[in-house]
Symmetry: C2
């Protein structure tokens, strides 16, 4: 019981930040003496620090402010993308303490070498910061088995059957958790982003691939054997282009980065910077938005109608490349989706918004995946 309360309190501080003892007692429904015992224990082990709050409210002795100590639990977060790998050391409370990234156009994408470089880089960074890592969370743009971090297929990386979890586990003596990029984006949005407080939300993201993560009734939806569904391989255009997955007209094929390059008149595989620059320029000219992005918007709409009708979320958060689309286009698509979705009407209008967590969303999700496995043991 005490262990359970300690974990709940720690998770509260980790996710929501510093808080007074009094508020902790009220929020968690525990009495003041229980809170005191828990906080004293955590303070003794250096996991939290207590301070007199700067702003005092009312008379009397102020309730002490409890602050999580970043160094008390540091996790390694790894975001493997098609174009680059980012690693970060993230402290208790969610602050990024240090980071490092490298371009995969320059370095090889070969799985064993990516893994080796992640290890070397993480050890260097940890030594440099003088911290000890207690767990790792790794995001991969592909079909991942959660139980042991086996990557079944990460097509845009050309990875097949990579035992990534086992490989890193043989080097690091700590829990290694591997997740799908969209699933971890959803986790980050749920804990720290636009989907906070929403129990039924979907996060949809576009990089080279398109993927989605689902929060259902407050927790992440998993498929069979830990394999998550792949929203990007929902067919939206049966007469569309062939997809490497063996299907045709997948959402990814119609609204992924390559499709965006095509409609913008850029070569497929153009650097992300030029795609974003082109979208920014376009946003300034509303007439152009509809004429050049109209068909793209139609496929985005069909996929979103399906997401809403099949999964029934109250909120859809669009991430990564979608955040660079003109706001007017997103608003128009969101409105059409609400109009033509039976389920949206039932739930009183599904909200469709763009992510505000920026480029670090997946990295933050990977960190939270790692924290999930260790918060009970800090």
């Amino acid at each position: 019981m005490r262990r359970h309360n300690r974990t709940v309190l720690l998770r509260r501080l980790h996710i929501e930040g510093p808080c007074t003892r009094a508020s902790l007692a009220a929020e968690l429904g525990l009495n003041r003496s229980t809170i005191k015992a828990l906080v004293d224990g955590l303070a003794e082990s250096g996991v939290v620090e207590e301070r007199v709050p700067r702003q005092r409210s009312g008379a009397g002795r102020p309730s002490l402010l409890v602050l999580p100590q970043a160094h008390a639990a540091v996790v390694l977060a790894v975001d493997i993308r098609v174009e680059q790998v980012s690693i970060a050391l993230v402290g208790l409370g969610g602050e990024i303490l240090g980071r490092n990234s490298w371009n995969l156009r320059v370095r090889t994408r070969e799985p064993a070498e990516v893994a080796t470089h992640v290890v070397d880089s993480a050890l260097l960074l940890a030594a440099d910061l003088g911290v000890r890592m207690v767990a790792a969370g790794i995001s991969v743009p592909g079909v991942v088995r959660r139980s042991d971090g086996f990557v079944h297929e990460a097509p845009n990386l050309h990875w097949t059957d990579v035992p990534l979890g086992d490989r890193l586990g043989s080097v690091f003596d700590m829990p290694i958790m591997v997740g799908n990029d969209a699933e971890l984006g959803a986790l980050a949005e749920h804990l720290r982003g636009s989907a906070r407080g929403s129990s039924d939300a979907v996060y949809v993201t576009a990089d080279v691939g398109v993927g989605g993560g689902v929060i259902s009734d407050g927790s992440a939806l998993r498929g069979t054997a830990g394999y998550l569904g792949e929203l990007g391989h929902m067919v939206v255009n049966p007469a569309g282009r062939s997809c490497y997955c063996g299907s045709r007209g997948c959402w990814e094929t119609e609204v992924g980065e390559r499709a965006l390059c095509r409609v913008l008149g850029l070569r497929e595989g153009a650097p992300r910077g030029s795609v974003v620059a082109e979208l920014r320029a376009l946003a300034a000219d509303p007439a152009q938005v509809r004429s050049r992005l109209g068909e793209f918007a139609d496929w985005l709409e069909v996929g979103l109608v399906n997401v809403v009708n099949v999964l029934g979320p109250e909120l859809v958060v669009l991430g990564d490349l979608f955040t660079a689309l003109p706001a007017s286009l997103i608003a128009e698509v969101a409105e059409s989706v609400r109009e033509r979705s039976l389920v949206s009407r039932a739930v009183g209008g599904t909200r469709i918004v763009t992510s505000t967590l920026g480029a670090d969303v997946t990295l933050l999700g990977a960190a939270e995946l790692a924290f999930e496995s260790v918060l009970g043991a800090v």
Copy 2:
């Protein structure tokens, strides 16, 4: 604790049927004296009966067989369809004790009158059988809020905003649970049909409408505010026919009963019997199957690819009208879905089968919904 064990034991007997004390002890991980106390208590209240098993195995005193007594808990199951309403009284153990149905082409579909007739009919049936109803489960082909049985929209019945749960609750002094037909079909398949023992399964059914229920990680998936997703309104053919829902080329529009009538050359709204007869005749002529049902099969395939890629089930069960399709067609579609679905390949090949529970699947699901609410109190 004792109450919890009692409910678990009762649910085991209700779902799996009669069982010896020794097997109950082994299955539930309880010791023999605990089982004895629980069974004695249930026998005293007339909920179970004990018998010496007919087939004795080995020497020594045989373990007594524990049988659930149907009359100990009788629920009302109601299956409201577009064409007809069926009601049944179902006893503990799942046996149908008596039933009654009426055609909605003859009687009105007006919600208040349907509700009144359900009440009258159920009371007559209960009096006739000499049983007392303890809960009701009602299946509606539409978007239903589970919390209070509010029917937001049941388009093929032309029902909008019907407080069905409250209406029946004001007459019956017992729990009234209302669910979506496909969701309840999924529940029945999960508890008593092809999806027994499967923790990630999808049930897809076609009547006039097409719908689906999802079992994820062993329990039913719910959308926001208890509104389930509507698989039938996933867009599979963006260039397809307008759907009443405000969208276009929905799965329901392409593979529902009306679509089947069109491809079979029957008038839309032809009686179910003639649709099934036509399909049976066709099944005898393999060359005709592909030429006449080819396009229909393509849309079935696109929808199933999406179901598998989005939800990642290990098993898809096809129900109702789909069970009348030629077996060769189902096998061909299943094979194509496995070939072109990334997620199916990851999970080792999603199985796609037809339901074996027959026409009562939804009624059985409605009964289980009712039992869920009372098994703890029997």
